[in-house]
Amino acid sequence: MKMTGARILIESLLKEGVDTIFGFPGGVVLPIYDVLYDSPLKHVLVRHEQGAVHMADGYARASGRPGVVVVTSGPGATNTVTGIATAYMDSIPVVVFTGQVPTALIGNDAFQEADIVGITRPCTKHNYLVKDIKELTKTIKEAFHVATTGRPGPVLVDLPKDVLIAMAEFKYPAAAELPGYQPKYKGHGGQVKKAMARILKARKPVIYAGGGVILSDAAPELKTLAEKLHIPVTTTLMGMGGFPGTHSLYMGMLGMHGTYAANMAVTNTDCLIAIGARFDDRVTGKIDEFAPYATIIHIDIDPTSISKNVEVDVPIVGDVKGILREMGKILPKQKELKEHEKELQPWLKEVKKWERTHKLSYKPGKKGVLKPQYVVEKLYELTKGNAIITTEVGQNQMWAAQFFKFKKPRTFLSSGGLGTMGYGLPAAIGAQVAFPKKTVIDIAGDGSIQMNIQEMATAVQYKLPVKVAILNNRYLGMVRQWQEFFYDKRYSHTCMGKLPDFVKLAEAYGGVGLRASKPEEVEAVIKKALKVTDRPVLMDFVVAPEEGVYPMVPTGEPLNKMLLV
């Protein structure tokens, strides 16, 4: 049967198993919206296209399925760029469909024309301009394939209006044919053996796990390996939840705001096993002094991340899950493992000592003063950790990572690579769409929340009970903290002079607004918020304005030069 390009698009999405798209209409994509009118696809009407991409991204991070976006040409398309760049940096599978002016007008500075393929080239895994309806299904198939395989990432497909209204036979290809794109999943057997030998020889091993563990759903394999070999584990921000936050082998996050134990362990380890992590500068601190005594084993699906920042001794390119399974198969016998455990005792004791002497902590506030860390602790306690947490960027993000314990993968969603303020609320909405029954909380700053606060309206419209916990310090807190340390407390333009009344604002949108300014009010507010099931809740926690995030490794310093509480 012949169909229009727009109908082919929707039918293709259904073939791909898509159930929800996040979008915002406009002239060029009207043919798509007309088909949507009576299609079974759920469409979430956002308030800003950046929000649409973060929602699709949150949906993808929480569910493991690709997130899908439809927006119009020109400004609709350019508004997606920050969202796309965010997904790109964190390797999140998102497919963005943008409208484009008719092919005959491309390049003519037509109304609402933007070269979105050119603009997004550096921040997409791949992108396409469909110039002929004959290419449409093939391109969509490829887009989903590229977005979700290998190292995942965002893919953009630009759809000129004439392609959307042209007619063609609908035949969806069974598979994508991309000779130049053949991700390597299976790790090299010899390298896997070599790695295992090195690990067994080590006396001070450390696992450093990143977002790749979560992306490849390798948390169970990681847990098995760490437990069998008694290796302490640290994760990056992106790796949170990839290893249970409550496990006795877990040392917490490493890096700039990592725990003392994790950073000391990495500095002293003789064998660092990096798994789905990319040695980001926020993690390594001064690179020459990162894990200076270690043999480095690096498992990653992306060959470009191997030996990019740090020289690696045993590289293994491939899918983390499969490789960890292979390693699991060549473990020594029970008796030897017992022996091995004994040999590691001094190291495990040392790690425990670091943990004991330098716990993550903060000074409780003077009477009546609310500390932001306390709010996060209470959120953890009252949800019993059963929540999906998203964050904005800044101190709120770090406190969320430090004081909430993530037991499962896909429960901590945060913009790690790009550090995008305004990510948390739309990402929370996307996660809530994927899991309508779960508790989803955005831990936010008063600055960040204002970057995409308009999405409150989206949450209200679709009765999504996302919770926002604003750690309201009346500052762009993290930047203020840097000014405090490195610029002599000259707080240049980081004080949010005028803030809206967040409670009234929530109510104006049709959500619930709550406030706590004293420690004793926190519990009641959170409990009340958790009971709301049919609309968003904004909790305004008025916290100590000049609280800092500790520990902190100043930029350019090695990990063991930490400023402690």
Partner: protein, 164 residues
């Protein structure tokens, strides 16, 4: 060190900008880049001359390989290969030095492809050294314009390399 990298890419919309953008976005240096269709009209060959230490070159080849449109990346530097560049040189000639210019053209096995009352346009191919030498020899006569292609190269291995 200087490297000659041969890249086979799908001949599709925007592929050149994907490659050149990779270089500019990551701060890699391009000395020259030539591109044209191969025998297969769906595949183009790019010859890229670039400079960097081993680590940089490793990143360049890995990053190129990672692009979806890239079919094959081949660093020719370490193996035997043939590299050529083409130049068109427009040189002033007065009646008294025509013979001398022609003898230079002859020595270099170049060709005069256009003649005007006051100039010759000379076509020459070769490696970079040869092109530099001929330009230097012609310079005293007054070079009006030069157009050069940048390097194209093929491995001397008899096997055509397919796939990544």
């Amino acid at each position: 060190m200087r490297h000659t990298i041969s890249v086979l890419v799908s001949n599709e919309f925007g592929v050149l900008s994907k490659i050149s953008g990779l270089f500019s976005g990551r701060g890699f240096n391009i000395e020259s880049l030539c591109v044209a269709e191969t025998l297969d009209p769906e595949v183009s060959r790019m010859t890229i001359v670039t400079r960097g230490d081993d680590k940089v070159i490793e990143q360049i080849t890995k990053q190129l390989n990672k692009l979806v449109s890239v079919l094959k990346v081949h660093d020719l530097t370490a193996e035997e290969h043939i590299g050529r560049e083409l130049a068109l040189i427009k040189v002033s000639v007065a009646a008294e030095n025509r013979a001398e210019v022609l003898s230079i053209v002859d020595i270099f096995r170049a060709k005069v492809v256009d003649v005007s009352p006051r100039s010759y346009t000379i076509e020459t191919t070769g490696d970079e050294q040869k092109l530099r030498a001929i330009v230097e020899l012609l310079r005293p006569f007054g070079i009006k314009e030069v157009a050069r292609t940048g390097r194209i190269a093929l491995s001397r291995s008899h096997r055509a390399k397919q796939g990544k």
